[in-house]
Subunit: 140 residues, 3 copies
């Protein structure tokens, strides 16, 4: 690889980590829906079926889902660690990251969950976006 | 940007993440006050008013604050994730990071807190330092 | 340093972080023993005596230890943050990282632990490996 290619690879890797941070910061802010949706491609799939959420496909379905999350959640805190890049090509990438989450709904009990996110990314005209977001539980 | 500028940007970003790690490692060691204070500029502001701590301005005030923290705390564990660089210029930068903290005082109950740190940095002759440290709660 | 040396340094640092992620992902999968053992040198030392585990030296001892961990653990979730590179030379390196862990054994109660890992690494023909893994508790 040339020096430029090596730098590009590092930049891409950090950009993907930044995208995960962007997403979690936006989710935990619980205020600006666009900040969340801007993290995803129009055809993104959000699949948390393994942790008892439904599966959503397409930005319209994700909009509805996160609208409900924002109205139902009082507080939310997600912590992503153990980032692992599994694939990095010109326009697509995949990675995994552990996440520890705490959710405090307006009604009902707080929940703490221990999951691993499995992510696929697409490079778009406005940077890397999440194309597929799958959550698998580490602790049931 | 030139290759050198791109490398510099990556180095700066990682140096800022390292600085946050330095600070949290030093705080959780609860032994060497200088290790903590070396992370800050002389005019640094430490503002945890949003999570019921006072606001401190200047290294003398921070010295007193952390002296009290070190004498009052038996154990401490802080975990920073979701680093997000918001600004990077030649001599200043800003970033946010989630933090999960657990504190065990010598007297009283343990506390767990879920916050986001909002940080401003200054580049000094001895590297990046924290100029402003603000904590906002994710979960109240 | 030349640009190439600066890039190499960044790549090495990220490779070490990746290695820690590889290890924790493999441990939490609780399925493929080789995925765990591949993170270590043949003469690796795994020392968790400070948190009431034994000390293991050499890949045969580690194989036996992780075989027992995998058979005894129902679920496991480890989150590493606050990575701090302490030394980086041509063929060896050392670093520290905070870790928050939750273990759910098949029998007995779940445990949550707050530790700092102190790691030494060796560069081998197949990349960086863990040569020494020491855990010290942050909260007893």
């Amino acid at each position: 690889m040339t020096l430029e290619q090596r730098i590009q690879k590092i930049e891409d890797r950090l950009a993907l980590q930044d995208l995960i941070a962007d997403y979690l910061i936006a989710v935990d802010n619980l205020t600006d829906l666009d900040d969340v949706l801007n993290c995803f491609t129009d055809d993104a799939v959000f699949d948390m079926t393994a942790i008892s959420y439904p599966r959503f496909e397409g930005i319209a379905a994700l909009t509805e889902f996160f609208t409900n999350v924002f109205s139902g959640m009082k507080h939310s805190a997600h912590y992503a660690t153990n980032f692992k890049l599994d694939l990095l090509e010109q326009d697509r990438a995949s990675a995994r990251t552990h996440a520890l989450g705490v959710g405090v709904p307006h009604e009902g009990d707080s929940v703490t969950f221990y999951v691993q996110y499995v992510l696929e990314f697409a490079r778009t005209g406005t940077g890397w976006k999440i194309k597929s977001f799958y959550g698998q539980p580490l602790i049931l």
